[in-house]
Assembly symmetry: D2
Homo-oligomer: 305 residues x 4
């Protein structure tokens, strides 16, 4: 590999915008594209070249990052990139999409001599801004080695998980586990609250046990404060659970609790909570139980330890 | 209350035996009873007085600890204690039983002027031996204050949660959450493994995320090693989930994921895993999926970060 | 056995009252008892002898029927009957209770030389009134043969299922299946309705298929009319599902769908529908989906076949 | 429209072959196409014209029936038909596919002046052979009226359900309800059998109740005989439940029991039962419970009524 490559970045949303900014800050030359052009213009002030179309990004850059919304968007953009990206280039998809779809898209790039990696990330908006994301990468190893420096400009922890789709598989495993831990919290705390326990006491007791979980530490405070501004929105979590169920179907792995939580989260989406943080899914259980996980609890004792 | 009380201890099983020993070590006078007398005799060497019946413990002691197996055992022993315990005494039940049953038993003691506290603990055999248990106490506050010094001889963290049954309610909340976190791990790792990911890689990635959990850190190694010696046995976890469902039924709180996990764990109990650690519940999903969560995974990459 | 026996009947509720009346109409001598004495007095006009206590019924009668609410009521009444019923008599429990509890109670009667049969029935109030009930009987065969003539005075179909508890086991199987068929209807019709299909059209199509079910034919009209007067109340159905889950736990049979439906019905009970017909359980799903299974559907076509 | 149209038929599988034959028997002129040409040649003896490609059918016929395997096959065939079918023609898809996919395909035909109807059918191979199928039709009403005579040559009951996709929505509702009734039977009968009841006795009792169901009458005998030759294969039922869940997701209708049964059926597919009748799904529960729903039951009583 000689010298730094020309980079491209498609999709400047909540995650993509600060990620691209970090690449620019690191001194790379980046051509950007966004459906809503304004976000791209903002990055021009940081030195980005603004492209008029995905096709143009494909022509200008040899290492291209995607950070889009869902499988459909990735398919559409890929279709256009396939028209213009040069053999020898590399496409890195940071979107969380179906591993199956990702493998199919990657195959088409590879047939034209273009490397393709799935590299979904976690760490949310804060991590994207601070450059402390975690990347989970699948695809061929040589491609992975070529993009290391760019990923390190955007993130702190970089994992190589194996062949095509493996990054996504790992990322979705994480979300599946996170969703079920949240459901554990929801059922446990709604029951405890209706039994008359103060949520803060239950949390303190839980934290002294092996059943403690950082996700519960993070999600209980917004539940108590009834603040559901999205850190990770319910509709995306619901979508990701759907991708896991699809993966389970294809691989022949039954996922009974995941399927149930998917339906419960789906009910919350249907009731209008899709744009809120996935912590809002607790309101379904609260409604059914006729109780709210909040303080103070009448007559609850002060806890001591 | 002036001066140290005469203590009693009923139930010298895996937990009760080391707990009673710690009371003796702390210098208290303890009368012990166990259905199998040998375990009691062993403690005689540590200074314990061995009683021939629960009734005798009731006559000799004014602060009596129970550490039995289930609601039925507690009911039977309580029946005998009610014949002999003196008004002004205090009975402390460390068994994890139904909060409803506990309240009913406690009511009968209170009517005779005897305080009754539910004080289930967590920390397993190791915590009981080292005296580092966590106690979750329910019942009247004055009673709680009278037993503080004894609990501190057996444990490190002592929580007062409120009125009768509240200690149990908190303890069971912990177990409910632990069981569901385990199911999250089981579904996530079985799917990941069948997709070709190495479990150790998935764990490392998970530990870099908000979905990490001490329970998963603790349970994955024995799963990988296929070692299911009980730390907390599946049959007791299954029983405790049943108690939570009963509690949910009484309080009007639907617990859909808990109900599902209870059935799945029940299936594993029925298939002969009841005496193993509850981590053995993963084998059901493994059987259904035709894969084992073990290493090495053929062709799995070395992970780097 | 020579000649007709003196009969006793305890519990004159929605079912018991018309059942006892049918025994009187058939010419039998019946001593009745009910907690609320008025109901008993009414039957006095039909020739019944009114007793002041269960114990008195036990003294007067040698074939005694129970038709009570739940396991607890049966236990309490059994306690009193054990004081007065003569050896050689027979006690027939028509209440739907736990097979395990029934076996334990029966054992105590049998030890005193009194036969005990579980004989739950189906057919609802209408069947009880017309004498067209179905009885499902468990217990020893000789006892079953002794009560045939009385059951025929109250019902049309009499099944002998085997040893103690087997009648209950069969009855509860029926209710389990009925509850799950109802859930099938609820999920199918709520989805169809939200998709814009007229419920009456879906029913007509369904009736032309192997998936048709008398229970759906019976329950859809009250759902469409939003009339939930109890034929079989949700709280009793919920209780019966709980008994099945207990039975599954004891026998080592996982019942995942039953466990889920039990929680969903429990949520509807918690939301105040317990006294309504179990068809009211559909309102939970309707609330979650934001749609009501009712006619007319805007723009729905007329169906033709 | 004057006079009989030239018909086309694509897909001569288990259902399509006898359906096309019935159209020929009724005297219609039919051009047929099948991937495996032999099946088409067989129909040539009945007077069919054999086409070399879907495109050719599109050129020759003005009323074209599809009877294929899944959404993908329908999409591929539709692509070819769009090249050759004349405006004013009508395409009738009898395949059970996603209502969403069906609407999208239909839209493309309608844009070219070609009517498109979804007309899935039920009645299985026997109904297709005897011409006693039930058709559930969605799409525009005028189109429906134009094809009535042809559907009557293949079926007995023809339902018009409304706009595009409504026939599929109704058909899938039927399958959802059928699948859940089967799960009801599975849980009820496995529990009853393990409790010691004879399956035939339980069936007899059930048939005397409102919980009886033709589907159970049909599926219990093959379960008892352990014969799982497909009438409707588990893999197709599993696929159809997946379509319903997709529909529920799009419409905002949670389907918790359907989602659970989908996972359980999926586990059975993964264990190798996909090609068997969906009644084979009971073996999963039997394995978990360690019992087989079969006769004779040791010591089971003869039933009488």
């Amino acid at each position: 590999m000689a010298g730094p490559q020309k980079l491209g970045f498609l999709g400047l949303g909540i995650m993509g915008y600060p990620m691209a900014k970090n690449l620019l800050r690191a001194g790379y030359s980046v051509t950007v594209y966004n459906r809503t052009r304004e976000k791209a213009e903002e990055l021009a002030r940081n030195g980005a070249t603004v492209a008029d179309s995905p096709t143009e990004v494909g022509r200008r850059a040899s290492v291209i990052f995607l950070c889009l919304g869902d499988s459909d968007s990735v398919c559409q953009v890929a279709e256009k990139l396939l028209e213009s990206v040069q053999p020898g280039s590399i496409v890195v998809d940071c979107t969380t999409i179906s591993p199956t779809v990702s493998r199919a898209i990657g195959e088409r790039f590879r047939k034209r001599g273009i490397a393709f990696l799935d590299a979904p990330c976690s760490g949310s908006k804060a991590g994207a801004t601070k450059g402390t994301l975690t990347f989970m990468v699948g695809g061929d190893r040589e491609g992975f080695e070529r993009i290391g420096e760019y990923l390190r400009a955007m993130g702190e922890k970089i994992f190589y998980l194996g062949g095509p789709g493996m990054g996504l598989q790992a990322k979705l495993t994480q979300n599946l586990i996170g969703a079920l831990i949240f459901q554990a919290m929801a059922e446990g705390f709604v029951l405890a609250r209706k039994a008359g326990l103060a949520p803060s006491s239950v949390l303190e007791v839980l934290q002294a046990s092996v059943a403690r979980a950082p996700l519960i530490d993070a999600k209980l405070p917004p539940v108590l404060a009834r603040r559901f501004e999205p850190n990770f929105s319910l509709k995306w979590m619901h979508k990701d659970l759907g991708l896991m169920l699809e993966s389970g179907r294809q691989l022949g792995v039954p996922l009974p609790a995941t399927a149930l939580v998917h339906e419960l989260f789906g009910a919350s989406v249907a009731m209008g909570h899709g744009e809120e943080d996935f912590a809002a899914a607790i309101t379904l259980l609260e409604t059914l139980a006729g109780v709210e996980v909040s303080e103070p609890v009448p007559d609850s004792p002060r806890l001591e330890s």
